[in-house]
């Protein structure tokens, strides 16, 4: 499947009307991807509790197609929910590299955005963007579950802008 998607823009570029095919392909693939963003359960600290609340019945993430996966091998999104401590930095990198592409990173909460209330600590990484490329930042301490839903909706917009042709 990956080889087909890689070669598709080159093939379509050579054929007449190819750009129309590409646009359709883009639309379909992006629709499929954004409607089934599967995050990995990666709660670190307090924000993890609000993340769990958003999976529960009141805020119900499942209606967006968001379904938590415990293994990074089966996940599209990693929600860094909580403080990134220096001891935990290497495990985070290891887990991120185990995720297959396309993969996205959502920094959830002040600590993941910039270190939060602990930014001047000797043991805290000042934001997960020092380690990983972040796609969406959700601010709050902790952010409400609605904010997390908003963050995933923003991620869906970002996925919409992805193009096969690079």
């Amino acid at each position: 499947m990956g080889i087909v998607l890689e070669r598709l823009p080159w093939v379509c570029g050579a054929l007449p009307g190819g750009s129309g095919v590409l646009a359709c392909a883009d639309g379909f693939i992006n629709w499929a991807r954004k409607r089934s963003v599967w995050p990995m359960t990666f709660g670190l600290a307090c924000c993890a509790i609000e993340m769990m609340a958003s999976y529960a019945s009141r805020f119900d993430f499942d209606r967006f197609g968001v379904f938590p996966r415990p293994s990074p091998r089966q996940a599209d999104l990693i929600i860094i929910a909580g403080t990134v401590c220096k001891k935990m930095a290497d495990p985070i990198l290891q887990v991120y590299h185990q995720m297959p592409e396309p993969r996205f990173v959502l920094a959830f909460g002040s600590c993941a955005n910039c270190g939060g209330p602990f930014h001047d600590s000797y043991a805290v990484v000042k934001g997960v963007d020092k380690l990983l490329p972040v796609d969406v930042y959700v601010a709050g301490c902790p952010p409400r579950p609605e904010a997390l839903l908003h963050g995933v909706l923003e991620l869906q917009k970002k996925i919409d802008a992805m193009r096969l042709a690079g």
């Binding site: 401590c85 220096k86 001891k87 000797y122 043991a123 990484v125 000042k126 020092k130 380690l131």
Partner: protein, 153 residues
């Protein structure tokens, strides 16, 4: 058992130990004269006076004033809930006997004091870092700790 009774029994068994200069408000705070007495005192508190539950072990950095760390221990008598605290000064750098033989729950708390202050505990089964990352050098809770930039800063 009232505070005075405890002090009277203490004076009879451990004449060198006495009441600490700075009392923790609301808790009778004793002072051990030296590390040699510590284990015997803890065992006496546990077996003879019934303070069989180790509440907390921590340290306070007084190196600037007195070139010493002050170790603070707190014991509780279950189920009545009466508490007694014990302070011990140890010079910096210093080592103190471990209480793990008397109270197994001293294990991690002593490791924490070692990790954050650098106080060593003789006789501890496994004295190594517990909270800070391996690459962090130094003992962060010391007042003279200067944070050296690492690869995450």
């Amino acid at each position: 058992m009232t505070d005075d009774e405890v002090l009277a029994k203490l004076a009879a068994t451990f004449p060198k130990a006495d009441k600490a200069e700075t009392q923790i408000k609301g808790i009778l705070t004793l002072r051990a004269a030296s590390g040699d007495d510590l284990v015997a005192l803890a065992r006496w508190l546990k077996d003879k006076l019934g303070f069989d539950y180790l509440d907390m072990i921590t340290a306070v950095d007084h190196v600037a004033e007195r070139k010493a760390f002050e170790l603070v221990y707190c014991f509780t008598q279950l189920p009545a809930g009466q508490r007694v605290a014990l302070k011990l000064e140890t010079p910096d750098p210093g080592s103190v006997p471990s209480l793990t033989a008397v109270f197994p729950s001293a294990d991690w708390q002593e490791r924490e004091v070692f990790d954050l202050f650098g106080v060593r505990f003789q006789g501890h089964p496994d004295l190594r870092k517990i909270l800070t990352p391996d690459f962090l050098e130094g003992h962060p809770l010391r007042k003279d700790y200067v944070h050296a930039k690492d690869r995450f800063d």
